[in-house]
C-alpha cells in the first residue's frame, strides 16, 4: 500500500469487552480495579468499569501497525486521554479508529489519528510518525 499526503485511512472498529480488559491488565501489569471491578468503579464515581487509557492507545497502535507494515515502523506516537471508554458487563464498547496522512517527508508519514466511542472522541491530539521507506520484511 502506498500513501499520499491527504489520504484518509480506512476506518477500523475494535470491540473492547471485559475479557480484553482482564487480558490487558495481565499483560501490562495495570491491575487498577477501576478497569475490572464494577462495584469499585462505581464507588469512585465512575458510571461503570472503564478501559485503560493505555489500552485504547495500544489499539490505535495496532490499527496503524496493520496499515503501515507492522508495529516496528512506528517512530512517534502521542495522545491525550480526553474521555473514558465505559465497558459494561456483557456490552462490549466499540472504538472506531480513522486517520489522515498529514505529510510525507524523508520516508516518514505523519498521521493524525481519530478514536471515537459513542460519538465522542476518546483520544485528543493523537498523532503518529511512521517509517514508510523501508521494505516490509516477511
Amino acid at each position: 500500500m502506498t500513501f499520499t499526503t491527504g489520504d484518509i485511512l480506512p476506518t477500523r472498529a475494535f470491540s473492547i469487552d471485559r475479557a480484553m480488559l482482564k487480558a490487558y491488565a495481565d499483560a501490562s501489569g495495570d491491575q487498577n480495579p477501576i478497569h475490572q471491578d464494577e462495584a469499585f468503579a462505581k464507588s469512585v464515581g465512575l458510571p461503570n468499569v472503564i478501559a485503560h487509557g493505555m489500552l485504547t492507545m495500544a489499539l490505535g497502535g495496532t490499527y496503524l501497525a496493520e496499515l503501515f507494515g507492522g508495529p516496528g515502523k512506528i517512530r512517534k506516537f502521542g495522545v491525550r486521554f480526553t474521555k473514558p471508554v465505559v465497558v459494561a458487563d456483557g456490552e462490549p464498547a466499540k472504538v472506531e479508529f480513522s486517520g489522515t496522512v498529514t505529510s510525507i517527508e524523508s520516508g516518514i508519514a505523519s498521521i493524525e489519528l481519530t478514536a471515537r466511542h459513542s460519538e465522542q472522541k476518546v483520544l485528543g491530539m493523537a498523532k503518529a510518525e511512521i517509517v514508510i521507506d523501508e521494505p516490509v520484511e516477511k
Partner: protein
C-alpha cells in the same frame, strides 16, 4: 499538593532487564496485534510506570485520584525479544491547572548504552 522540589529528580534502574518474548506475545494478544516481531509502540509503558511511581515516591501524591492525562513516545528503534534495557526516569514539571495538579515525567530507555526510546507522560491528580 505535590512537592515541587521533586522536579529534576532522576532515577536510573540499578540493574538491566531482559525483554522476554512471552511478555511481548502476551501484550500483542491483549491488543489484537498479530505481528510480534517487535514490541508494539506502547509496550514500554508496562515497565515505565513503575519507574515513574518510584520517582514520585514521597512527593505527596494521592494515587487513588491519579488519572493519565497524556502519553507520548519517540522510538528510534523498537524493542524486541532478548533486548537488555536500562531505564531512567526524570520528573520534568509539576503544575496546577483547573483545580487539578499535573506532573510530567520522562523515561529514557537505553539498549547497550544507546538511547532507543523516550516517553513522556502527564499524570493528573484530580482536585
Amino acid at each position: 499538593m505535590i512537592d515541587p522540589t521533586i522536579v529534576g529528580k532522576r532515577i536510573t534502574s540499578t540493574k538491566p532487564f531482559i525483554v522476554d518474548q512471552s511478555a511481548i506475545m502476551r501484550f500483542c494478544q491483549a491488543i489484537g496485534e498479530r505481528d510480534d516481531r517487535f514490541a508494539p509502540p506502547t509496550f514500554s509503558f508496562t515497565f515505565i510506570i513503575s519507574a515513574f511511581e518510584e520517582s514520585l515516591k514521597g512527593a505527596g501524591i494521592d494515587w487513588s485520584r491519579m488519572v493519565h492525562g497524556d502519553q507520548r513516545f519517540e522510538i528510534r528503534e523498537p524493542i524486541k525479544a532478548g533486548d537488555i534495557l536500562t531505564l531512567s526516569s526524570t520528573v520534568e514539571s509539576v503544575r496546577s491547572a483547573a483545580g487539578n495538579e499535573l506532573v510530567s515525567v520522562r523515561a529514557d530507555i537505553e539498549r547497550e548504552g544507546k538511547e532507543i526510546i523516550q516517553a513522556w507522560s502527564t499524570l493528573v491528580v484530580r482536585g
